[in-house]
Amino acid sequence: MNMELKQPLRTAKTKLAIVDCDIHPRAMLEDVRPYLTNPWWDYLQTYGLRPRHGHVKGYPFPKPTPLASRRDSWPPTGGPPASDLDFTREQHLDFYGIETGILNPLQPSGQGDQNPEVSAALAFAINEWQVADWVRREPRLKASVVVPYEDAAASVTEIRRRAGNRDFAHVLLLSRTGEALGRRRYWPIYQAAVEAGLPVGIHVFGYSGWAMTGTGWPSFYLEEGIENATTTQQLITSMIMEGVFERYPDLKVVLIETGFAWLPALGWRLDKHWERMRDEVPHVKRPPSEYLREHFWVSTQPMEETDKPDELIDVMEWIGFDRLLFASDYPHWDFDDPFLSLPPSLSDARRRAIYADNARALYRLA
């Protein structure tokens, strides 16, 4: 949240290496112009982005701060938060001693646009921009393969274009897709990701075109934050019940900004119902919680908070300490401070696993 830290709070504990699995670099549309054809540039100037909601500028649920960002994250050079590599280095990478940071660009990435061709053109452009403006200039950073996920064929093209390029850490989807992610129409994306040896990262937000809950539209941004977790529960249910992991046994999924405390209960519930109704989904060979345990990683931010840290540690144990990845969400308002957010009673070994070791293994970081 919006606290100003005057001085780095460096303690022995924080000397641990940190891999930050969720950093949001922000492009202005002008930044990606070199990677767009003139017709697409003209189209975007005339019609603009058209996500599946009604607002030309802004969002259905106004953010709590401009661009949902920390008030201290606006670079002195002008431009929006996390648009300036030097300031991002100073305020985040150097300040916290980040060893590796995974970039997950959100808008203007065109994901989920009503016009699928816009999505494809912008995904290509934003991927080029990530490499040219960030990764090539800062070796601590890795890019995401942004894909126009509503068009599986175009997504496969984009993944294959980046396959083998170690500048990219994972394939990036948003959580609110037009259909649930288990549906067959998305399977070519998983196949291409597995072939490229890349995990699939799913970051919360986006607009599916459906109401944000099964009971209609909520009123508040506060609720949108909560529904990011419920939507993720639904997409996991879909991926497991459609049999994605039977078809792609090597598929690895990273949940980003979803929170994690709800994961064990979801697995328990799905196991119970699968046991009762497995005749409906004979292609699901094992209890859902086993797929959950094997195929999913989850980033920590927004770290659930409880005044009884032992309860949080129970939940981490139920998930598995080898499946948690530290993430800060820089530069957003609900940023988790790498120095402060993990429960203080965690052992050093567990702390090392969450801060760096798990991510190094998953992303095959040197």
Binding site: T177, T213, G214, T215, I226, T237, M241, K272
Partner: protein
């Protein structure tokens, strides 16, 4: 096998409407004719496909495949077998699905009258929830006012998923009526299918539809609190029925954390959502969503940090458990006693004063 649920109050049992014609005696001529002329077959809800395993435990189904079609059915299982002393009937016949307001109001009234006559009148150990036509708030309030004098109706019944979230101000007259008559708002699994059950559209499989109920409940709790329902109606109680249980603690951590960051958006929420939930919300026990590992069950239930929240339920005739004991192993003995009797009585005001005399059975 015996049940140790002796004297328990079963807060969630489901009478089955055997056939639309069962409601004929309670409908005006115009609606009876309409049913015949238009060939309307049934209002059974897709939330519970009649032959799906969850809808009825196999040995509880009769020759025609239906279960819980009479008060005697409930008596045999819930009272004789599980040894409960009282049971609350939540009829899930899908009148909430009806799009025509006038038709919805007529069928809802008929359904409630059928429950009173065919169930409550036949066994004095039965209680029921008032089904309300949420299609029209004014009519919903009128239905509550019509039935509230009959103290065998102990709660108002709505579904976990409907056209708009339950916290929205348009529904507040219903909560005023609930508070006035000391009737908890009971939210039960199910949808009126105004939207797909997920934010990602229609799922392929029924098992996903049923699993999605847990997300529907989270959305409703978030809405009721965020909109300020409990600031306006401090005596209102809400019972989540057939909601599952173990999703709640993690949900509350997230909700309370976001509230701390975003409370200026909802200034009427003047304390952490987890406190509001522990004071105002209760949950029925089945389907209990944790593995059959007593240590883990005990730990997961401890995360609720309240011994007051769980209410005994068999969910009869839904097939949620085998054997005769709906209470999972791992629930500590002291808590078990609270779940069976004390918590239900503390929740349902009308059970405090209107319990049958000892020996009536």
């Amino acid at each position: 096998m015996t049940s140790s649920g002796a004297g328990s109050i079963d807060c969630d049992v489901h009478p089955t409407v055997p056939d639309l014609r069962a409601l004929f005696p309670y409908l005006d001529e115009v609606w009876r004719e309409s049913i015949e002329q238009r060939g309307i077959l049934s209002f059974e809800s897709a939330s519970y496909p009649p032959n799906a395993p969850i809808t009825a435990r196999p040995e509880w189904r009769g020759a025609n495949g239906q279960a819980a079609t009479s008060a005697a059915d409930i008596g045999r299982h819930v009272f004789d077998r599980f040894k409960s002393s009282l049971a609350i009937c939540n009829c899930l016949y899908g009148v909430q699905l009806v799009l025509n307001e006038d038709m919805a109001i007529a069928f809802t009234r008929a359904l409630n009258d059928w429950i009173a006559k065919e169930w409550l009148d036949r066994d004095e150990r039965l209680r029921a929830s008032i089904v309300v036509p949420m299609q029209n708030v004014e009519a919903a309030v009128a239905e509550i006012e019509r039935l509230a004098p009959d103290r065998r109706f102990v709660q108002i019944l709505v579904l976990a998923m409907q056209e708009v979230p339950l916290g929205r101000r348009q529904f507040w007259p219903i909560y005023a009526a609930a508070e006035r008559h000391k009737l908890p708002l009971g939210i039960h699994a199910g949808s009126s299918y105004r939207h797909p059950v997920t934010a990602l559209g229609w799922p392929s499989y029924y098992v996903e539809d049923y699993a999605a109920q847990a997300q529907g409940f989270q959305s409703q709790v978030a809405s009721l609190i965020s909109e300020g329902v409990f600031a306006k109606f401090p005596a209102l109680k809400v019972v989540l029925m057939e909601s599952g249980v173990t999703w709640l603690p993690g949900f509350l951590w997230r909700f309370s954390k976001y509230w701390r960051g975003l409370r200026t958006e909802v200034p009427w929420v003047d304390r952490p959502p987890e406190e509001i939930v522990r004071e105002h919300f209760r949950l029925t026990l089945q389907p209990f969503d944790a593995p059959a590992k007593p240590d883990l069950v005990e730990r997961a239930v401890a995360h609720l940090r309240s011994e007051d929240m769980l209410l005994y339920s068999s969910d009869f005739p839904h097939w949620q458990f085998d054997g005769n004991d709906p209470v999972p192993a791992g629930i500590p003995e002291g808590l078990r006693r609270k779940i069976l009797v004390e918590n239900p009585i503390a929740t349902y005001d009308r059970l405090k004063t209107d319990r049958p005399q000892e020996g009536v059975r």
